[in-house]
Symmetry: C2
Subunit: 368 residues, 2 copies
DNA sequence: CTGTTAGCGCCTTCAA
DNA sequence: TTGAAGGCGCTAACAG
C-alpha cells in the first residue's frame, strides 16, 4: 500500500499531457500528435510543443499510451536460467535488437520450475506483451501451449507447436559438429567420445544425431560405450568424464553437447592428472565467453547468441507487423579452434621431446 | 504499425472486467474487489466471480490497473553489463526477491555507454517504475542524479547522492579482504601483490584501502611496485600480471579486485609456465560461479549477489511502503578458500619431493 | 456489502 | 491542420 492513502486523492500528475498543452498553448491532441510524429502537424506548433516538453521535462506515461493505443510496445523473452552462462549473451543481444526495433523487453527465467513458468506466462499476458520468444532449448515447451492459445506471436528454438502465429529458429547443429569431428579426425583421432545433453531435449538429440552422422561420414567407428548422456551441467560433465575414464578402451578425444559440460570434463581430467590437450582433446559447444578464458582455452562450436537473438526479434517483428511472416529462420554454427585439441597421445612419439614440449596453437577457423 | 489499422476500431477487448461481471452477474466493482482480495466481499459472490474468471480465462490488464491505481508495481534494476559474470546471479536474485515481494522487474544494462544509460533511465521513468536499484558499482553514478530529481526511491552501492529517497548498500569489503590477507600471511607469504580495479570507482578504492590496511595489520610491507591498477577485465588482468612479472622482486601471491581479473592472472601464469598455486598464489574477489570451475579452482572473497539483491529489494520496498525507511544496509564479504592458494615457493624445500607433489586442498572457510 | 460513477493519461475518431 | 470529446480497462470514492 502507498505511504499514505490520502495523497492519492488529488492524483492528477502535475506533469501530464495537459500541462504541456497549456504551456504550448495548443490542445492535448496536438501534443499527442507531435510526440507521435504525425506528419500533419504544423512545424511552428510542433516546435512550441517540443519546447514546452523540454522546459517541463515531460515524459509521457507509456502505460496510459498503451491503454489508449492498444499496443504495449513490449516483447517478452523467456529463458530457462539466467545464470547459465549461455544466456546473458543471448539476453544482451535480445535487448539490443529489441531496442533497435523500437520494442521494450520483459525478461523472465523459469529456472526449470513449472510453477514459476506459469507465473511467468501470466505476467507476460498481463503486461500485454505483443510477442514472446521462448528460448529455453526445449525445456518445458508443452506448457507454453497456453501462450499459443492467446494467439500472440511466438518464437521457439528447434521446434514448436504448428500454428500460424508460431515461428521456429532452426539451428544448424550439423554444420559446426561436422567441422569439429573433421578437425579431430584430421588430427588423427579415431576414438572420439560424445557427452550429450539430456536426451529429452530436442536440441540435445539433434546434436547427438549430428555427431553420429559426422563420425560416420569420416569413416570412424562410433563405439556406443563412448556416448554418454549428460545433463548440460558442470557436475554432469564430471560424472560423464568419470564414466568415460572407466571405459574398457578410453577415447582420445571427447566432444560435449555444451561448454559447461566440457568444463566439467576439463576439471575431471585435471583431477586425475590427464593433460589437455596432450593426453586428451576436448571440444565444447556454445562457445560461451568462458571458453576462451579457460585453461587451456577451449575449442568449441559457436552458436552465436547474437544471431539467435537477432533472428528471434526479427521473427517477432515480422509476426507483429508484417502480413506474411516467415515461419522458419536459420541460425548457423561453426567451429572455433583454440587449445584444448591436439594430436592424440602417441601420435608424436617419433619426434624429439624438445619438439613436443611446446605445442603451438592450431590456426583458428574462426577467431576466438 | 499493427497488421491492419482497421481492427483497432472496435477495440474493446472481448475479455475485460465487464465480461466477467456479466457472466458472474455482479458489477464490475465487485469483480475488481474480488481480484484485489478486498476482504469485504461476500464469499458466495467471490466464488461466482472466480468461477467466471476461470471459465473465461480472464487475465486483468495490468497497465489499465496501473493507470487506475497510480501504481505500476514495477521496480527497476540497472547494471553495467549483463555479460559480466557477476551480474547474472545478481539479476536472478533480484528477480526472485522482487517477485517474492510482489513486484515486477525491469532490467536494463548500460554497457558503460552514457547515451544508453540516458535511454535506460528514460524508459524506467516512462514505465513509472516505483523504485530503481542502480547496482553498477560506481560507474556513471553522477548521471543518475536525473533519476533522483524525480524523487523516486533509489538504491546505490557503496555511495550515492545524499537525498531522503536514496539509500545505500554498504558493502563490508574490509572483512573479506582481511581474511584473505591473513590467509596468505598464515601460509607464509610476505610478498603480496594487489591488482585493483579502476581507481575512479569507489568500490575499487575501498578494496585497495582494505587491502593496504589488512597488510599493515599483519605487519607485512606493502611494496608500491606490487600494487597495480587494473580495469576489472580479463585482458586487464593479463596486463597487470605482466607488470607484476616485470617487478624487480616478484610477489609470491597476488590478490585481485575481482575474479575476472584473477582469471587473467591465472591465464598469464599458465602462459609463462608458472604453476598456481605451487609457484604463485592467487585470490580473487566476487566469488563468481566461474571461480569454482577454474583450473585450479580459485580462492576468492565472496560478495554474495543474493545478499545484495535481497538488500536492494528490501531497501526499495521500505522506501515505497514504509514511513521511515532505513538509509543504509550492510552487506558482508568473506573468504572462500579453494586451490589457488598454497605455501609460497621455497617454503617446503626441506621436505622430500614426494611430499610436495600432491598438495592437498586447504580446508574451506566457506564451502565453495 | 454492493453498485454507480467519475476519473487515471493518453490516443483517435469526428467536425470544424 | 487543429480541437473537442469519447473511449481504453481498471480503481476508488460515494451512495445505497
Amino acid at each position: 500500500m502507498p505511504k499514505s492513502a490520502q495523497e492519492n486523492k488529488k492524483r492528477r500528475s502535475l506533469l501530464d499531457i495537459r500541462a504541456v498543452a497549456a504551456r504550448a498553448k495548443v490542445s492535448i491532441a496536438t501534443v499527442s500528435r507531435t510526440i507521435n510524429r504525425v506528419p500533419t502537424v504544423n512545424a511552428k506548433m510542433a516546435k512550441r510543443v517540443w519546447d514546452a516538453i523540454n522546459e517541463l521535462g515531460y515524459i509521457p506515461d507509456i502505460q496510459a499510451r498503451a491503454l489508449g493505443s492498444g499496443r504495449s510496445g513490449m516483447i517478452g523473452l523467456v529463458v530457462s536460467e539466467i545464470t547459465n552462462p549461455f544466456f546473458p549473451e543471448l539476453i544482451q543481444g535480445f535487448e539490443d535488437a529489441a531496442i533497435e526495433n523500437g520494442y521494450e523487453i520483459l525478461i523472465s527465467s523459469t529456472n526449470y520450475d513449472p510453477k514459476r513458468m506459469e507465473l511467468c506466462i501470466r505476467r507476460l499476458l498481463q503486461r500485454k506483451a505483443e510477442g514472446v520468444a521462448i528460448l529455453t532449448f526445449g525445456i518445458e515447451q508443452p506448457l507454453f501451449e497456453k501462450l499459443a492459445d492467446r494467439n500472440i506471436p511466438l518464437v521457439f528454438v528447434d521446434a514448436g507447436p504448428d500454428r500460424p502465429d508460431v515461428s521456429v529458429l532452426k539451428i544448424d547443429y550439423a554444420h559446426g559438429i561436422r567441422q569439429g569431428v573433421q578437425h579431430l579426425a584430421a588430427l588423427g583421432h579415431r576414438k572420439i567420445g560424445f557427452i550429450s545433453g539430456p536426451l529429452t531435449l530436442h536440441s540435445a538429440q539433434s546434436r547427438l544425431a549430428a555427431f553420429l552422422n559426422a563420425v560416420d561420414e569420416c569413416g570412424i567407428h562410433a563405439e556406443p560405450e563412448w556416448q554418454v548422456e549428460g545433463d548440460h551441467t558442470f557436475e554432469g560433465g564430471i560424472r560423464c568424464m568419470e564414466r568415460l575414464l572407466d571405459a574398457s578402451m578410453r577415447p582420445t578425444a571427447v566432444m560435449c553437447s555444451n561448454d559447461v559440460t566440457a568444463l566439467g570434463v576439463l576439471h575431471k581430467a585435471y583431477r586425475v592428472g590427464l593433460r589437455v590437450p596432450d593426453d586428451l582433446s576436448v571440444i565444447g559447444f556454445d562457445n560461451i565467453q568462458m571458453a576462451k578464458v579457460m585453461i587451456p582455452p577451449l575449442t568449441s562450436i559457436r552458436m552465436s547468441p547474437i544471431d539467435i537473438a537477432n533472428a528471434a526479434v526479427k521473427a517477432l517483428k515480422e509476426h507483429i507487423e508484417a502480413d506474411h511472416p516467415r515461419r522458419e529462420y536459420k541460425v548457423d554454427t561453426c567451429l572455433v579452434v583454440r587449445e584444448s585439441t591436439a594430436f592424440p597421445p602417441g601420435a608424436m612419439d617419433d619426434l624429439k621431446p624438445s619438439q613436443r614440449s611446446d605445442p603451438k596453437p592450431l590456426p583458428s577457423i574462426a577467431k576466438g
